[in-house]
Amino acid sequence: MNEGTFSASAVPGPPPEASGPNTMIEVDHFHFYYGAKQAIFDINMDIPEGQITAFIGPSGCGKSTLLRNLNRMNDLIDGVRHEGDIRIDGTSLYDPSVEVISLRKRVGMVFQKYNPFPKTIYENVIFSLRVAGRNKKSELDEVVETSLRGAALWDEVKDRLHDSAHGLSGGQQQRLCIARAIANRPQILLMDEPCAALDPIATLKIEELMLALKEEFTIVIVTHNMQQARRCSDRTAFMYMGRLIEYADTMQLFEAPNEKQTEAYITGRFS
């Protein structure tokens, strides 16, 4: 691989237009290491507000690592360190005044494998409120309804809110996780391959849901499924070996990629 071809400091693709949406997340010369192993190399990108941004790339390219840095989930792993900065709304995530807990309240997350808590549907949705000490019954009821409606699950579960969440189907459980993530009204919703464990119909529902949710939330999604990125996202970032190869409007990236590697990947010539 020729290092010079993708000089990382220059963001490939055109920068967001001045008239376009505001920048929500700025990734600024970000490096990330697991112990001695560097997983992310000098990434720069601006993620716009109110849009869906997809990270694509082969396994191990660092897209999930980058995503998990946006709410500092990687802090849980021993021996990690970073260089550079990530800013949300202009404030650095790593600013000493930023508490990880309040950050995670602003940045919700949905995981690859649906992971509802072994509690009732109701308690699952309001978990983030409970841990924040908000226990007012009327408020909780309202949040449950709006969140489940937001996750297009209300009609299916409204009669069994107090049943175990594990009685739901896989797709329903993943939508419950989305409802849980949006219950706290975060600004940003991170989705780490949310459809990887789901069948095509459930996947379709989640995709429809994402398109509806982007009205309210800035969504960042990691996906292995290029069709999915193409169908749903507004902007797409292609990563390879820990580097950002190309970052552009989705249409442009898929129709006329600037980089050869991007083209090779999206046409399936390597993985």
Partner: protein
């Protein structure tokens, strides 16, 4: 042999096929599966055999045995009559090598007060005749074990005498025994309950007196006034005591008034105070229903009554209660301790050499002989902690309060003993909580402690409970360390009762495991105690199994509630 050899030659084809078949079987590579099954079978056979033995022996104690009356040749050639129960039949080993092999019976004759020995070996060859007379009675008494007799007459409290031939005799006797039992419980309530309370009050007044005398801040007049007050109170209590003591001695006298005259099988006539009798029955005259009633009555007595005659008779309620309370206390101590330790080790401690060393040490702690824990409990809990508590809070008491063995220290010692089990099980349960739901909780803005408290712990609870169940099973059956830290042969009072402060954690207690040891190996009459050993063992097993089943039921309930993710 011949048919075996002929069989293959008669049919030429099948042997070849079967050989191929068997080759194919061994080729699969699992010819030794039966060995693993053998191990399991052996284990099951041993467990079932042991349980069956204990069950049969334990349950048969309560069933009325037939009374046999034997005519037998004595050593001097004279024929004598004995009556009793056959307890065991075994082969007799004579010193003479030419003697024919014969059987001998272990024969229970009761009447220890009259004939000295309740048991006797009888050579089967000496028996001239045997029958089961319906008119033989067997009586349970407060002392000297059972009596086997034929009644002659009863002189009642009001001076009348009724002969055994009188049709009203049995009813009158039953009534007299019932009255005696009522009086006995009255005496007990006076002597143990009311007089006990007065004694506690007098002891407390003595302590108050000491305090007043010690207190240098009091003026002489003040001191005198207080001492006078104390003395007045003491006098009042003493007067109460006198009244109760007279009442009790009157009752005692009444107990001795009625006399039952009976005839022993050997013809001797004796008199017995009806006040000493607990129950009488005629086993040979009983129908199946009567026997069943007697059986149930015996079981009930065994479960609810206090022991008599150095534990060989009566019930074992204090031991059941002591075991139960001790195990419960132990679980209450060990569960939080073990879970907290496991949470720290698994969730917070930085995994490294030190933590690994700690983990290995904890595992090895489970292998330390239990008596070592007993010695440690005696030194640390009883002498050090208990002694310090006594110095600080009970310095005026006459004897040690917490500075001696008691149910609290026994529970604490066993909690230490079972701690490794709980820690290891809890750690494993915590480790098996899926990473996904931890991350989900953190991503919802929960702190690490909130995650542990609200998500990890409830999910791990069934596994933690498994550890607690194992700990309870081990703790309830442990005896050796208890002997050093508070178990006794006979505890005068229960660790829980109606006198304030209701829970007496400093009291000594009885324990089923120790009871078995004491009955079987420390009893003056081990043959008489043997049935009780089996019955007590059976009960200990039942108690442990019941507690385990209850805990398992709880665990299954929780497991259903917090079922791990279904994929």
């Amino acid at each position: 042999m011949e048919t075996l050899q002929k069989a293959p030659s008669a049919t030429q084809e099948p042997p070849v096929r079967s050989a191929a078949l068997s080759m194919r079987h061994s080729a699969i590579g699992e010819p030794k599966v039966w060995l693993t099954a053998l191990g399991l079978t052996l284990g099951i056979a041993m467990v079932v055999g042991l349980l069956l033995l204990i069950f049969c022996q334990g349950i048969s104690v309560f069933w009325p045995r037939p009374l046999l009356e034997l005519q037998m040749k004595g050593p001097d050639g004279k024929v004598e009559t004995v009556a009793g129960e056959v307890r065991k039949i075994q082969s007799h080993h004579s010193a003479d090598p030419n003697a024919k092999p014969s059987k001998e019976w272990l024969f229970y004759m009761g009447n220890k007060d009259a004939i000295g020995n309740a048991f006797r070996y009888i050579n089967e060859g000496d028996i001239v005749s045997q029958k089961r007379p319906e008119d033989l009675f067997i009586a349970e008494r407060m002392g000297y074990g059972n009596a086997i007799f034929r009644p002659v007459s009863l002189s009642t409290t009001n001076g009348k005498t009724i002969a055994a031939t009188d049709p009203a005799f049995r009813a009158t006797l039953d009534k007299a025994i019932l009255e005696a039992n009522t009086r006995r419980s009255q005496i007990q309530s006076i002597e143990r309950g009311k007089i006990g309370k007065i004694n506690t009050g007098i002891t407390k007044l003595g302590l108050d007196e000491k305090l007043v005398n010690k207190d240098s801040g009091l003026s002489q007049a003040d001191r005198d006034a207080r001492l006078k007050d104390i003395n007045a109170k003491r006098d009042a209590l003493k007067a109460d005591y006198q009244k109760l003591a007279t009442e009790a001695s009157a009752l005692r006298k009444e107990q001795d008034a009625a006399l039952l005259t009976w005839k022993l099988p050997n013809g001797m006539e004796r008199k017995q105070q009806v006040g000493e009798l607990i129950a009488i029955h005629q086993p040979n005259a009983m129908g199946s229903l009567g026997k069943l009633g007697w059986f149930l009555g015996n079981v009930w007595e065994f479960l609810t009554a206090e022991p008599r005659e150095s534990n060989t008779e009566g019930g074992i309620f204090p031991a059941i209660f002591g075991t139960f309370v001790m195990t419960l206390l132990m679980s209450l101590v060990v569960t939080p301790l073990g879970v907290i330790a496991a949470i720290y080790l698994r969730e917070y401690a930085k995994q490294g050499l030190l933590v690994r060393a700690v983990r290995i040490s904890v595992n090895n702690l489970a292998g330390v002989p239990s008596i070592v824990f007993g010695v440690f409990g005696l030194g640390f809990f009883v002498y050090m902690v208990g002694g310090t508590i006594d110095q600080l809070f009970f310095s005026n008491a006459n004897g040690p309060t917490f500075g001696t063995g008691g149910i609290l220290w026994a529970a604490a010692t066993l909690a230490l003993l079972t701690l490794p089990v709980v820690i290891v099980a809890s750690e494993e349960a915590l480790a098996s909580v899926p990473r996904g739901i931890r991350e989900a909780a953190l991503a919802c803005g929960a702190s690490k402690w909130q995650t542990i408290q609200r998500i990890v712990l409830p999910t791990a609870l069934p596994g933690i409970l498994t550890g607690v169940i194992l700990a309870m099973a081990r703790g309830a059956g442990e005896v050796a360390p208890l002997m050093l830290v508070g178990v006794v042969k006979l505890a005068p009072s229960l660790p829980l009762d109606t006198t304030a402060p209701f829970i007496h954690a400093d009291r000594k207690f009885m324990h089923l495991g120790f009871h078995i040891y004491d009955l079987g190996f420390q009893s003056p009459d081990s043959e008489a105690a043997k049935p009780m050993v089996f019955a007590t063992t059976l009960l200990l097993i039942v108690l442990v199994v019941t507690m385990n089943l209850a805990a398992m039921k709880l665990r299954n309930h929780l497991r259903k509630k917090y079922a791990a993710s279904t994929f």
